[in-house]
């Protein structure tokens, strides 16, 4: 890796200031600019999804359904789910962080297919606009899961339009995955063998495999819903010989691996953060790399655990239950290895590391509760209750969103040449952690005592925990708004960042901050394994 850290001035010409025109942004093929475009777009969608969450939590403060009608409530949780899953979580780390740093981590000048990269962003935007339009003209109420025959036959909302929007988002995802696979296979710098790659790359490779193999199946399942809705062919309609559960098989074949699309990149981020902020080699590199691939493969074998009470055979349920236990193992290996990496490390409590800690703790809780759900007997009791809602929010929000924020803070200096304000960042991280747990921990309890999900009214004995959850949500909202403010502030007033403020051995840090358009002045040559901090005591924090 390179020697002394660069002086604390931004280079004269870099990817941001090379051209300020709007066309240079909208027609860019520079992966870094595309990443920024994605960052802005998904932030907008995140806050829209957040508005729906706010309305949901406001309704749930009281047992009676008194804020909105039940039909409207159905639309709220549907749209919250669609926006957050398809338009925030799935693109978040891969399309923003992955697009920005992946080519740099392999030592390349850009992604393998830069124009397709831009096309993927446009697919995303078109999908988002169509979905938002459907939301504005009346919304959709099928749940983000579009279960039949409600979605095909009985719903009177904008199902067709929402499906079209999601299909575009799916194409966006496929093109992103295509780029990742091709870039990692073909554009690695000289000397960068698979075993020398940073773990972020392994995670994103595994994620890309899922994107490629899974997304088309949900595409066809939603197309079938659309066809059924228009032509009433009966493919999912029991009255005409169809099986509604077939839809669920096709839908969950993607949507379960999709949760690994949401978490694997986050895990890749955590690997980077834990090593940089404990200045240590990762414990068990090969195991973490192999675990990423194992999660991707095993993730495709468990989808039936969303269908235990849907009417599948008990033998099939047994198979999926066993598989669901197995898929937890590679995730657990990662958590153990990160923890072991911390042991005897020189730990620094900068904000990105705080988010990494948050991820490790909250993901573990989320993952363990997943095992509760994988047990058939327990699942019968808690399925379709708030237990499930809490489980997946612990992983997606406590896990992925925390890792995303950690990544944003960690790579902010690289992206913009500015440091974020550490004090405010720590306050926000703490606020988010507290707010998150106050919001979602009560939901485990609510689910266990029987409060069903997707209900806008509930039994009065559930109110105390619901009020607590809503209070937590208000704290969480503040926690999310703070970074929006101080990060934008830092673009103009933040301390100028050196090339490598964290003294990281990562390849992306061996170029200026912000980088030039072509990333490296000369193609780097890699001569040692990742995270070789023990070989480089001279590398240190300069931030």
């Amino acid at each position: 890796m390179s020697a002394a850290p660069a002086a604390a001035v931004a280079p004269r010409e870099h990817y941001l200031n090379i051209d300020y025109g709007i066309r240079s942004w909208l027609l860019t093929t520079d992966h870094k600019r595309i990443a920024i475009l994605y960052m802005i777009s998904i932030t907008v969608m995140f806050f829209i999804g957040g508005i729906f969450a706010t309305l949901i939590r406001l309704e749930l403060m009281t047992p009676a359904g008194d804020l909105v009608t039940s039909d409207t409530y159905n639309k709220l949780f549907t749209m919250h789910g669609i926006v957050m899953v398809f338009f925030f979580l799935i693109p978040s780390v891969p399309a923003v962080i992955g697009n920005f740093v992946l080519p740099m981590m392999v030592g390349a000048r850009d992604m393998a297919f830069p124009k397709i990269n831009l096309l993927s962003w446009y697919m995303y935007v078109i999908g988002a606009v169509i979905t938002l339009y459907c939301i504005i003209i009346g919304g959709v109420d099928t749940g983000w899961t579009f279960y039949t025959p409600f979605s095909t036959t009985y719903s009177n909302t904008y199902v067709f339009g929402s499906i079209v929007g999601i299909l575009f988002a799916g194409f966006s995802s496929i093109f992103t995955g295509l780029n990742f696979i091709a870039t990692i296979h073909k554009l690695r710098a000289p000397g960068l063998t698979w075993r020398r790659m940073q773990l972020f790359l392994w995670s994103h490779y595994a994620t890309a495999v899922i994107m490629i193999l899974g997304t088309p199946v949900v595409a066809i399942s939603l197309i079938l819903v659309a066809v059924e809705r228009v032509w009433h062919v009966g493919i999912f309609n029991p009255a005409l010989g169809g099986d509604p559960v077939l839809f669920q098989h096709l839908f969950w074949f993607y949507s379960h691996p999709a949760v690994y699309i949401m978490v694997l990149p986050a895990m890749g981020v955590v690997s980077e953060l834990v090593t940089t902020f404990s200045r240590k080699r990762v414990f068990g590199y090969e195991f973490i790399a192999a675990a990423s691939i194992a999660i991707a493969v095993f993730g495709f074998l468990v989808w039936g655990h969303h269908m235990f009470v849907a009417g599948i055979s008990v033998y099939s349920a047994l198979l999926f239950s066993i598989m669901s236990y197995l898929v937890a193992i590679p995730s657990a290996i990662k958590v153990f290895n990160w923890t072991a990496t911390l042991y005897k490390g020189a730990i620094s409590y900068r904000t990105p590391m705080l988010y990494a800690f948050g991820f490790i703790g909250l993901f573990t809780i989320g993952g363990l509760t997943g095992l509760f759900l994988a047990a058939l007997g327990v699942d019968i009791h808690v399925t379709d209750t708030y237990f499930v809602v809490a489980h997946f929010h612990y992983i997606m929000v406590g896990g992925t969103v925390m890792a995303y924020l950690g990544a944003i803070h960690y790579w902010w200096p690289k992206m913009f040449g500015r440091m974020y304000p550490e004090g405010w960042a720590k306050i926000s991280a703490a606020t988010i952690f507290v707010g998150f747990n106050v919001t979602f921990f009560p939901q485990f309890l609510l689910g266990y005592v029987g409060m069903p999900r997707r209900y806008h009214a509930y039994a009065p004995e559930f109110q105390v925990l619901n009020v607590m959850s809503t209070a937590g949500a208000s704290i969480l909202a503040v926690g999310y708004l703070l970074p929006l403010i101080y990060l934008i502030w830092s673009l103009r007033y933040g301390e100028i960042a050196p090339a490598n403020p964290w003294g990281s051995t990562g390849l992306e840090w061996q170029t200026t901050s912000p980088p030039p358009t072509h990333n490296f002045e000369e193609t780097p040559v890699v001569s040692e394994e990742a995270y070789a901090y023990d070989k480089h005591p001279e590398m240190e924090f300069v931030a």
Binding site: P103, L187, I212, V217, V233, I235, G241, G242
Partner: protein, 212 residues
């Protein structure tokens, strides 16, 4: 011709070919969802599927299979010519390939029309029936038939578009021994669409021909 971020044409070609194979994986999984639906309903409603298969025009189906195989041959020759930098020959083979492709679609159209006239198109006007077979299940067969062959036909159309594009490029003399990868990749797509049909033919047309 050499794009960012490649260091040479070889790396670019290998990467583009890998990209096309990976993209074809997505197509495989997309059709896979329909094949899965087909597998489920055929298992559940085999007699209805047998009956439905008897309503298929075997002659057109078999001829169309042969047509697509021929089109794959001419496409392969088109690729071969491009690999040698022979643009004119490439154009000829690609034009014949398109001719075969259009023939396929025309025959498909004839078939669809016949089904329409026989009231075998699912929906309000569906009238097909047979003794001992639930008409709903028969309709499911036809739904899958139209969905699977329809999606396939859509991919044929896209393929024709892609072949048109590379034919124009070849006509302009763009391909050389060093640079001809787009032709190879369009060829990969075309052959994939052929493979889908290779499975559709027996699954839809040959379920039960033993009792005429």
């Amino acid at each position: 011709m050499l794009e960012t971020p490649y260091r040479d044409l070889d790396q670019q070609r290998e990467t583009a070919t890998l990209g096309m194979f990976v993209f074809l994986l997505t197509e495989l999984m997309m059709f896979g969802g329909l094949f899965c639906s087909y597998l489920v309903y055929r298992t559940l409603y085999f007699p209805a599927f047998q009956e439905g298969s008897r309503h298929m025009d075997l002659t057109i189906g078999a001829v169309n299979t042969a047509v697509l195989i021929c089109s794959s041959l001419t496409m392969a020759f088109g690729v071969q010519a491009a690999q040698k930098g022979l643009n004119r020959t490439t154009v000829s083979f690609l034009l014949v390939t398109m001719l075969f492709g259009i023939t396929f679609l025309v025959l498909k159209g004839v078939e669809y029309h016949a089904h329409w006239q026989a009231h075998e198109v699912p929906g309000a006007g569906f009238l097909a029936h047979a003794a001992g077979v639930d008409p709903n299940k028969l309709q499911l067969f036809f739904s899958l038939y139209f969905l699977m062959t329809g999606l396939h036909a859509l991919h044929m159309l896209i393929g024709l578009g892609l072949v048109t594009w590379i034919t124009i490029e070849a006509y302009k003399g763009r391909y050389t021994e060093a640079y001809h990868n787009p032709v190879e990749n369009v060829g990969l797509y075309w052959h994939f669409v052929d493979i889908v049909w290779i499975y559709l033919f027996p699954l839809l047309y040959l379920i039960s021909r033993t009792h005429l």
